[in-house]
Symmetry: C2
Subunit: 344 residues, 2 copies
DNA sequence: ATATTTTATGCAATCGGTTGCATGTTTTTG
DNA sequence: CAAAAACATGCAACCGATTGCATAAAATAT
């Protein structure tokens, strides 16, 4: 099973007695080639079974029509929706999408950055790993004028492009909602505090408490390593065992919020009457758990589309790294039964 | 912000007074270059900030170290886990992964195949769109000796590589389980019958009924278009309105199974006593719904890893398309409360 | 009819590695 | 010590498309 030789523009040129340049230009609808010639060349190309070699074009242009994506893990609802949005938009614009998972390890992120760089991607979309604290490994892209858009988990740097949600406002909203439902001892499941998203959510939580004159009790703020289901159960147990257990929980993700609901129910704690719970993300499980989990919704797919759009825009123009562009997408408070004490 | 010129092997060659060939070989640990030279060259390369240009290498080799993936949609638990497995394995082996979504449209699949082909991928992993009925658009890969591995939703052709689960056995197991729990009127939520996975699951269902001398009632077999939550609710309503409603449901996915549970509960139908339900896939929602959804588990991540492994193996050897290789992975019956009448 | 534009096409260098073959050098062997 | 073998490196063609510059041909203006 030998691979037949591929047809190249040279083969077409020979057959049609044109030069390779003309073939190349014709196939790219270059204006300096007459319509008639273009038509004829395209027809012949098709007949001969010509498949353009993107590698050659990319090499020549020193840029492949490809976007790189760096994320922690693909198989999470938010991330996979984000990627779906990116891929869809990129493909429509004729770009391929390469994905790379860091598994939340800084080390992997560095290696992946290297590989993507070597592939001469035209743009990079990054959501940082949990561990990442510095972004030197991405400097090479900026140096080469390869646009980077950070999304969701972004660095604190200023002169960069970001697509994010207002985590602070969302955290505030969620907490405020619990307060309005009559909660006065509100716990918070917090993520790693060097990651903007978790830090901001917590800030929003704290400021809401302060604004409503509710004392901030550090015993009620649980620092999570990975916001996993197991961690959530453990934390809930600990909280409910407290002499003064909380009457509300604002969790930085849905997974741990759901684990809290399930654990509380198991102990006979009534939700939302004795414990109101609100999560973050609106994962599929949020609508399935009973009572339904109130949560903060992300426009994940749209975020992806915007990332792709931004990056392509920058990739085309000779972008200006001096100006940063921050897109903040709206979140919504989605009230289900896990926090609805007043029957709204 | 101008892009600095990239360092090439020619620059290194000039600096070290070696020929580019030697540099190239040294960087690739070619045996004909002395250890000492290799060490010196690599050191200098690093110092100079050399970044290999994979495009150039790929062009020369007429193959980029990249795997293509064609799937319906990324943001589904099974698919994203599958991709995660592929990506992980591929990356370890030094391959990039390009993904393309068909959104279950044949037309998109054809276009995507073209784009991937033009990128000169080294191998292709495909799970067919819901619509796809012929695979001519993939012939070009085979003609060029580019290995293809089909996964999960595979064509019926014989001489191809497949990584699948035994859908028939799983369907049989699931149905048998319901029968053993005392169900005698078992409904089936079936997917599109030209897709192997759904056809096989249904076959297993029917054969199990037959083996246990239970009549096959066509009114209890619902043909779904997309196995969505809404479709599931509608179907459940219809079934429960029947003069002789079912006492068990085997659904070809978890989404519709969960929708059945929720709808049945709303109507006061007791699960599993009056209606036992079993799904397929073990999506996260399966463990959250109450009662917990019994289901068939897929080793999704592992399937991905095996796909990557197979494809890389074929990409390296000059593969032999004459022989097909079919890997069938085990599924497991995971019994939760939605079907557990006897309290096992 | 000649000069000037406009239009259509070709030439040849280039992008950055890779590799078969040739050559020069060193080591081993008889 | 010469011949053979092993080792180390270089030459130059090649992968396939792109593009600035040059040029030929056709159309328009004078």
């Amino acid at each position: 099973m030998k691979a037949k030789k591929e047809i190249t523009i040279y083969d077409i040129a020979k057959k049609l007695k044109y030069s390779p340049s003309t073939i190349s230009r014709a196939l790219n609808d270059h204006t300096s080639i007459s319509k008639k010639t273009i038509r004829a060349i395209k027809k012949t190309a098709k007949e001969m079974g010509y498949h353009p070699n993107s590698l050659a074009a990319s090499l020549r242009n020193n840029r492949s029509k490809t976007l790189g994506i760096m994320i922690s893990r693909i198989n999470r609802p938010f991330i996979s929706s984000l990627i779906s949005g990116i891929e869809e938009h990129a493909r429509k614009s004729g770009y391929n999408v390469i994905i790379s998972q860091s598994n939340d390890k800084y080390e992997n992120e560095v290696v992946n950055a290297q590989t993507l760089y070597n592939s001469r991607i035209s743009g990079l979309i990054v959501s940082l790993s949990m561990e990442t604290r510095k972004v030197d490994h991405l400097k090479q892209f900026m140096d080469q004028g390869i646009p980077i858009v950070f999304v969701d988990r972004v660095p604190d740097e200023l002169n960069i492009h970001k697509v994010i949600i207002d985590n602070y406002a969302a955290g505030y909203k969620a907490t405020q909602h619990l307060i309005e439902q009559g909660c006065s001892r509100i716990a918070h499941f917090a993520g790693a505090q060097h990651r903007n998203v978790y830090r901001e959510r917590k800030k929003g939580y704290i400021d809401a408490l302060k604004d409503y004159n509710i004392p901030v009790d550090n015993d009620l703020i649980i620092r999570f390593k990975s916001l996993s289901f197991e961690e959530g159960e453990k934390a809930t147990r600990k909280l409910l065992d407290l002499p003064g257990p909380p009457d509300g929980i604002f969790s930085a993700n849905d997974t741990t919020a759901v684990s809290a609901i399930l654990h509380a129910k198991k102990r006979g704690v009534k939700i939302p009457e004795e414990l109101a719970v609100i999560g973050f993300n609106d994962d599929p499980i949020a609508s399935i758990v009973e009572p339904g989990l109130s949560t903060i919704t992300h426009p994940a797919i749209k975020m992806g589309q915007i990332c792709a759009q931004r990056i392509l825009q920058h990739a085309r123009e000779d972008q200006d790294h001096a100006v940063s562009e921050i897109t903040v997408l709206p979140t919504e408070l989605l009230i289900r039964d896990s926090s609805n004490r007043k029957g709204i």
